[in-house]
Subunit: 342 residues, 2 copies
């Protein structure tokens, strides 16, 4: 498998990106990595390590896309950016997949325009797997589509299910609809119409899931529009960060607290590890015709190595073809239904 | 001031409701309370305490609305319920305000149909004040309106601002728009159109606020549609609950952890107090023509007493008239604008 890596994306690029790539080719067989970006900087990093030089190559790219740039314009104008060059490798079938820790907006816009959608998927969706109390869960979409139609959410459910089955090896994954009440008639127009679609979909649909239940991780795939998913993701991060801040203030505020905090250090470490996104690789951008993984902006080499691992599992399990087959099947069903109605 | 209290609503009704009322008339002067509900049960509770019997009266109501009943139907059919009778007291100006810890849906439907809207307010909104790290903040709306128009959110902002100014004594409160990006052009159609309205509103509008920032409590009033607000509220509760669960498991999982946990007991107690919704009373249902406060379903006597205090401050600061005056002013401005365009 050949993986294109945007060498300049993310808070710790290119040093942590390069180190992640070096560690990955040592750990995983049969992969080659192409790093795009400022050749001089990247080679300087690479020269710090001993590695099989046949397995990592560099393609020079003079431009870098800033996370604050308007995404679509950045993709159109910066043809010589590390991101656009990496995406082009996927488009031209010179790489099977791409990883970037840079601008999420530019990544999604670029994947959409350069790599393109899978036929039959109307809206690709960003789908991170997050750590829950009892098990990891996926929220799909977390921001690619601020406005959605019920059909989009049905396709998100289908893609999420395939991902969970093939990558996380969960048999018949459960699918929930994020909603503000558990009853079928609750919510807005989108959730009401989506509920009916999911109920008839043949998926293991477990009904509406209130946001309060999400962090427990009892449901595998949680579908919603991108505005809601982004809100869920950021409230999850924000609430956890605030609580740990408050806890830290309390602990360091008294001698008793400091001693208690010291004794609980292993406990806090376990919790931190449990909720560490780095263990999960990146967020897959599902529905585009290539393996596109968005790594967290603050990814270190471990996060990069795991994102590369995620690409390999994605590739070896033929997820793209699985999605293509399932979408044809589901469209076939939809067409029959439409004919029945006529 | 006369306050109607739904004696049968909430997980701990009527015992905690009654105790809260008894404590309130001892602490606050110049109030009278009318408790609606099963007279026999309520009198039995009242007889446990010594109190000024001139200040609490009971109106018998044979029916109770269950939280699982469809709200509108429950309000229409159960005319002899504790909630409907309490709402009628407000409608007939026999009470200035009402508090209920029962079904949120029935409470909002009843307040809307029985008490009625303030003229000029298109959609009343449920507006809890929540504990943030640095200061309390309000999210408006958290579930009364799953679908909203930009104008609704502008009115939410106006009402939230008055509440913060008059009840929480914050001068020129800041107003933020909950959105999935900080830039003006981010979000869905609703947030984009609302941004323009808020920018021109004359309110202390601080722009888009990403959900990640909400728990910090740096912005006073956060406006959004009810679907988003409900998601924010429930993710806040759910993430906190899950994290404390995980922490508890870690602490009780080892001897070292147990000792550490014991030493940190005061710290945990402080945090619990800091994030205790009971200190804040209930969620005001703003935009109806009466003081309507929804207490948390699991309210104890302290939460009830604080909800009563909230009603008193609401009343003494003339919030309803303030909202009426501001809405006339703002509609006046809107009309002038409309004329300018023509």
């Amino acid at each position: 498998m050949i993986i294109a890596v945007d060498g300049m994306g993310g808070d710790f690029a290119p040093s942590e990106v390069v180190l992640g790539c070096v560690e990955a080719i040592k750990e995983f067989n049969d992969i080659k990595i192409i790093i795009t970006g400022n050749e001089e900087l990247i080679l300087k990093e690479l020269h710090k390590y001993k590695y099989d030089t046949n397995k990592i190559s560099v393609i020079d790219a003079k431009e870098v896309i800033d996370p604050n740039e308007p995404p679509v314009m950045a993709i159109r104008r910066k043809k010589d950016s590390s991101l656009v060059k990496a995406l082009n490798l996927v488009k031209q079938k010179e790489a099977h997949g791409i990883i970037s820790a840079g601008s999420t907006g530019a990544f999604m816009a670029g994947a959409l325009f350069i790599v393109g959608r899978i036929k039959g998927i109307d809206r690709p969706a960003l789908a991170p797997v997050m750590p829950g109390k009892n098990a990891p869960f996926m929220v799909i979409d977390v921001g690619a589509n601020a406005e959605c139609k019920p059909k989009n959410l049905l396709q998100f459910a289908l893609m999420g299910k395939i991902y969970f089955e093939k990558i996380l090896k969960v048999e018949n994954p459960s699918v929930g609809l994020i909603n503000i009440g558990t009853e079928e008639e609750k919510g807005n127009e989108l959730t009401k119409a989506t509920y009916s679609l999911l109920k008839e979909s043949g998926l293991n649909f477990v009904g509406n899931i209130e946001p309060r239940e999400i962090p427990k991780g009892d449901v595998n795939v949680l579908v919603c529009d991108g505005f809601t998913g982004n809100t869920v993701l950021k409230m999850f991060e924000g609430t956890a960060a605030t609580l740990f801040d408050v806890l830290k203030d309390e602990i360091t505020g008294s001698t008793l607290g400091k001693v208690g905090g010291l004794l609980l250090k292993p406990a806090f470490k376990n919790i931190k590890k449990k909720f560490n996104y780095k263990e999960y690789g990146g967020a897959a951008f599902l529905g585009v015709d290539g393996i596109c993984v968005k790594a967290h902006g603050s990814s270190d080499s471990l996060a990069f190595k795991n994102a590369i691992k995620q690409c390999i599992i994605f590739h070896n399990n033929n997820i793209l073809n699985n999605i293509k087959e399932e979408i044809i099947k589901s469209n076939h069903i939809q067409n029959i239904d439409a004919m029945d109605i006529i």
